[in-house]
């Protein structure tokens, strides 16, 4: 049996079995859940390689599933993060109700993401896309918070995106008579000019929604923060990357052949830039860690969109590298928030402080994640940012450099807020009982955080699959080896110029740490955070002096004009207008039988009068 189809069958069967077993006491459901995530992933790593395919016909459409290099790269993100999130979820979701639904949708999400990546025809692409949408939707509403607003908003936007994509798909089908992605890309150059414009736009709307591109991002903060954190790490880390995957295909496969393609590129890149800035500013304003990370995800995806939009080989490389990195560090951070929420019951900065000594491992993972997110060397986030700047400067998008730089500098603000809000500040009696998260939650976090470190030091590990993917996209013809495009990497990719820098950093750090600690280390004692010098007064036990309310108020005051109106406001207004309109139109059905009879008569009379225009007689 073909391994590809076997993977999907195991996922599906595993999902159903786990769902059925969810009411049985004991560990059966956990075991089934982990097995149905891990077994196919293991099969994916051992049983398949790029180039494997599986073909069949259904409902008159040819289906082709094939593992392409680009798909393989994204599949690495999905499977890696998926397994980590699954392990995390088992521990994190204990004692929650309706576990079956959670596990079911979790497995289906992973399955559908892999399906999207393996699909070489648009029908199965769309099918998996929609399965992904509804399974993630069920996760968003899973906790029952704000379902009618947040959940519906997520689904409306997803549906708008999916249907825009569906429209493009059927247009392609009518133009080429085939549903194959390859065929679409091949024949794109021959389409009529208006089709050449409309089809990519429709596709980009579809992918832009999933990758939270401005102005289609409004669902993201709510959806990310309302789904269980075990899933959000996957949601933000992997699921949003499906939009990026699609965008990469569209930008490289279609826009590259479009005569006026650079306008597309500029628009997409600027949308990405605006997304990055907007996401960052709103993230700074948040008091809830989930919301903060959600907006930060929007901003990070903005960087990636910029890279994809620019579309030079180096920019693509940067975008794909940042996609991998984002999966790693955002997975870590969402998991950390989940751990904190599980241990303390809240994810609000204003409520919980000073966890550093209670949850040191979580802090360590968060610290790594934040450093990677901020793009500070030596962790992996920097490599991606660096390549992005290089490519932007190299392709003459100077203003975008400023925009991106502004966004990533402002990102330091929320990065600090995240670490400070949870872990630093004064330690309170209220949180004295808090313990480190269960070991199964900590391990995935640490592994993912370690991944950011690994990729920061050895970016070549992931540059190789990325360049294989880029070759598939047709970049090979013009460019040499991809890691040479950027000066960071030598031929092997894994011995980089970064290394001496890294050693220098570590050496200096170690030297001064020793310098600080060496003398009478033993006599230095720890004093609590209550024992501080505030004008000579020592705060009492119940006094919490932590400064966290209105943390960045001065800054927000400075950028106030930029943040006056959220785009959400207009969407809500539009939605309300539509509902009011429909409330009006439904009054057509007056409830009076005579009116209905009158309608019938009017119907007849109108058509009798208009018969010449309507029927040509």
């Amino acid at each position: 049996m073909n391994t590809i189809i076997l993977i999907f069958i195991i996922f599906l069967a595993g999902a159903i079995l786990t769902f059925l077993a969810s009411n049985i006491k004991g560990l059966l459901k956990e075991v089934l859940f982990l097995a149905s995530v891990i077994v196919p992933v293991v099969m994916f790593f051992t049983g398949v390689k790029a180039g494997d395919s599986f073909n069949f016909h259904l409902a008159g459409f040819a289906f082709q599933w094939e593992i392409t290099p680009l798909g393989y790269l994204f599949a690495l993100i999905v499977t890696g993060l998926g397994v980590m999130a699954a392990i995390y979820a088992v521990s994190a979701m204990q004692k929650t109700k309706n576990l079956g639904l959670f596990y079911f949708n979790f497995i289906l999400s992973i399955m559908s993401m892999l399906g999207i990546l393996f699909s070489r025809d648009l029908v199965s692409f769309f099918i998996f896309w929609e399965i992904m949408t509804w399974s993630s939707y069920l996760m968003v509403v899973y906790q029952g918070k704000d379902v009618q607003k947040v959940g519906i908003k997520y689904f409306i936007f997803s549906a708008i995106g999916a249907y825009a994509m569906l429209m493009a798909i059927v247009m392609v089908y009518s133009l080429t008579g085939s549903m194959m992605i390859d065929k679409m890309i091949q024949s794109y150059a021959g389409f009529a000019f208006n089709m050449q414009i409309i089809i990519p736009i429709l596709f980009l709307i579809g992918f832009g929604v999933k990758s939270a591109m401005m102005p289609l991002h409004v669902w993201a903060p709510g959806a990310y923060s309302h789904s269980p954190m075990a899933f959000t790490s996957l949601f933000s880390g992997a699921l949003s990357k499906m939009g990026i995957y699609g965008m990469v295909i569209v930008m490289a496969g279609m826009i590259a052949y479009f005569p006026e393609g650079h306008w597309f590129r500029i628009v997409i890149a600027w949308l990405g830039g605006i997304t990055a800035v907007g996401g960052t500013l709103w993230a700074i304003a948040q008091d809830d860690a989930k919301k903060l990370l959600a907006y930060s995800s929007v901003a990070q995806l903005g960087y990636i969109i910029v890279g994809v939009g620019i579309g030079t080989p180096l920019a693509m490389l940067a975008a794909l590298f940042m996609a991998v990195m984002h999966a790693l560090f955002k997975g870590t951070l969402f998991m950390a928030v989940g751990a904190i929420e599980k241990q303390t019951g809240t994810s609000n900065f204003t409520e919980v402080t000073g966890l550093i000594r209670k949850m040191p491992l979580t802090f360590l993972a968060s610290l790594m994640g934040i450093i990677a997110l901020a793009g500070i060397p030596p962790l992996g986030g920097f490599v991606g940012k660096w390549m992005l700047y290089e490519s932007l400067i190299g392709s003459d998008h100077y203003l975008l450099v400023i925009v991106i730089f502004f966004s990533s500098t402002a990102a330091f603000l929320y990065c600090y807020k995240f670490l400070f809000g949870f872990f630093l500040g004064q330690e309170e009696k209220e949180w004295e009982h808090v313990k480190e998260a269960p070991v199964l939650m900590v391990i995935p976090m640490i592994i993912l955080a370690g991944g950011t470190f690994l990729l920061g030091t050895f970016p070549g590990l992931v540059i190789k699959p990325i360049s294989a993917g880029l070759e598939q996209l047709g970049y090979a013809a013009t460019q040499g080896k991809y890691w040479e495009m950027s000066m960071l990497f030598n031929e092997w990719g894994d011995q980089v110029v970064l290394e001496p820098i890294l050693y220098a950093i570590i050496a200096v750090f170690a030297f001064f740490l020793v310098f600080l600690l060496i003398k009478n280390h033993k006599n230095t004692r720890y004093v609590s955070t209550k024992d501080i010098s505030t004008s000579g007064e020592v705060p009492k036990e119940h006094e919490n002096l932590t400064f966290i309310q209105n943390f960045f108020q001065p800054f927000l005051r400075a950028v106030e004009p930029l943040m006056k109106r959220q785009i959400d406001f207009y969407y809500n207004g539009f939605g309300k207008g539509i509902e009011a309109l429909f409330d009006f139109t439904r009054r057509i059905y007056t409830g009076n039988g005579q009116t209905y009879a009158l309608y019938a008569i009017i119907f007849v009379v109108i058509f009798l009068l208009l018969k010449t225009t309507l029927f040509g007689i």
């Binding site: 259904l58 409902a59 008159g60 029908v123 769309f126 099918i127 929609e130 399965i131 949408t133 509804w134 939707y137 509403v141 899973y142 906790q143 029952g144 379902v147 009618q148 959940g151 519906i152 689904f155 409306i156 549906a159 708008i160 249907y163 825009a164 569906l166 429209m167 059927v170 247009m171 089908y173 009518s174 509902e579 309109l581 429909f582 409330d583 139109t585 439904r586 057509i588 059905y589 007056t590 409830g591 039988g593 005579q594 009116t595 209905y596 009879a597 309608y599 019938a600 009017i602 119907f603 007849v604 058509f607 009798l608 018969k611 309507l614 029927f615 040509g616 007689i617």
Partner: protein
Amino acid sequence: MVGSPVLLIAVPLLAAFVIPLIGMIWKELVRIVPGLVLAYMLVLSVTLLVEVNQNGTIVETIAGWKAPWGINLVYSNLTGLLATIITTLGFLVWMFSYRFKRNVDFEPAKKYFIFLMMLVAGATGIVITGDIFNQFVFIEITGISAYALTAFYTGRNSAEAAFKYLMMGSLASSFLLIAIAIIYSQLGTLNMAEIASKMHTMDPVFKVIALIFFITGIGIEAEIFPLNGWAPDAYTEAPGPIGAAFAGVVVKAGIYAVIRMVFTLFDIPAAHDFLITIGLITLIVAESTALRQEKLKRMLAYSSIGQMGLVLVAFGIGTHAGVFAALFLMLNHAVIKPLLFFSGSYLVFNSKEKRISEVNGLGKFMPYTAGLFALGSFAIVGLPPFAGFWSKLSVLTAAADEGLLLVIALVLIVSVIEIVYYFRVVNRIFFQEYNKEESVVPHKPRFNAIIAMTVLAILILVIGFYPDAVTGMLHSASSDLLDKSGYIDNVLQVGQSLIR
């Protein structure tokens, strides 16, 4: 050979008259016999469909009078498919409504099943008859039993709904009769095949007038906007399973009548565009109205109307792909909407007002029913991998082939609205807290109802995962509809030997 097509009409009609008599023997027989009859019809229609698939169309003459003089029944791929859908749904409705309400007495049950039998007989008749006046009669039979079933519950507003339905229904029959009169006066025949073969000789003005009256008349049954004012009321006030029967049986028959007129009888090409236009208007108005509904069944009713609009759009495309898509939509709608009505009527079982806001948190107490409702919602809005997706996809591809981009865009925009209102309900059921004061008291579905719903759910999944299970049938049915001369030949060759 289990029987001939005429039995599909005769047996249920006979049963309708026999039911009161056998009720005197043993009261439970009143509930059992309809099931047996419907099961027989189901088996018969399926066997006939298989046979038709192999040997070609069956044309049955009644009482020895051959076409074009006598009445004849045409059991082709298309009509057979629709008849099978109708009988299947009839059977499932019976199974579901077997002691739907525990306290229903013998008397009401008797009436209920009599009218159900008549409804199914009438709808089957509409589909398989080959004579327009006969079709009119069947429409009336269906109509009268539908009025009666709508008014089934006393003490509610059901009489009001039934009266509106009746008003519109008799107007419809008047229009139909006028159209029949025009056609008969011009062509001198009532046989569909002969009308079709002579249509080109008819004065175009009369032709168009006749078509308009026909469409108006049948449009009232087929729930075309603005002729569908009765429909939401009737769906809301009729018993739950009857709502399912309306959506799955009556409307399907009405749509069949419309398309038979447009595709076979009348040779007016512009009628296709006309179908697209009214279909789109129906779709948009109905779905936008559904968005703001407060009652569950009313929402389902508007959704049903909208789906019928989409079916008309697909038929209006007029190509093989379009007809295929339309038939696929009809099939899916006949599978999904009854499931929604079945599960929905159990969700609001104990409620007086049947408001959507009352279903909050019911998923916890009746997970199976609620889950099936969710499945139905997922399927009807066209999410893969459920049944509705394939039909939606085929509609869109068919429209794209003809370059109807505006149609595609509108259909997709409306689909978003559809998603919104369905998911609002699903959210309420599963993800909002049960509120003792507002929510309904949960009601456990009966065993037979569970079976009926499960069958539909399995059908949804089967079609969703393996659409090829039905596409072959649908393809032959759509070729059958488009093969006008084949239809004429099939019917008339039986009468060739006589006189002429």
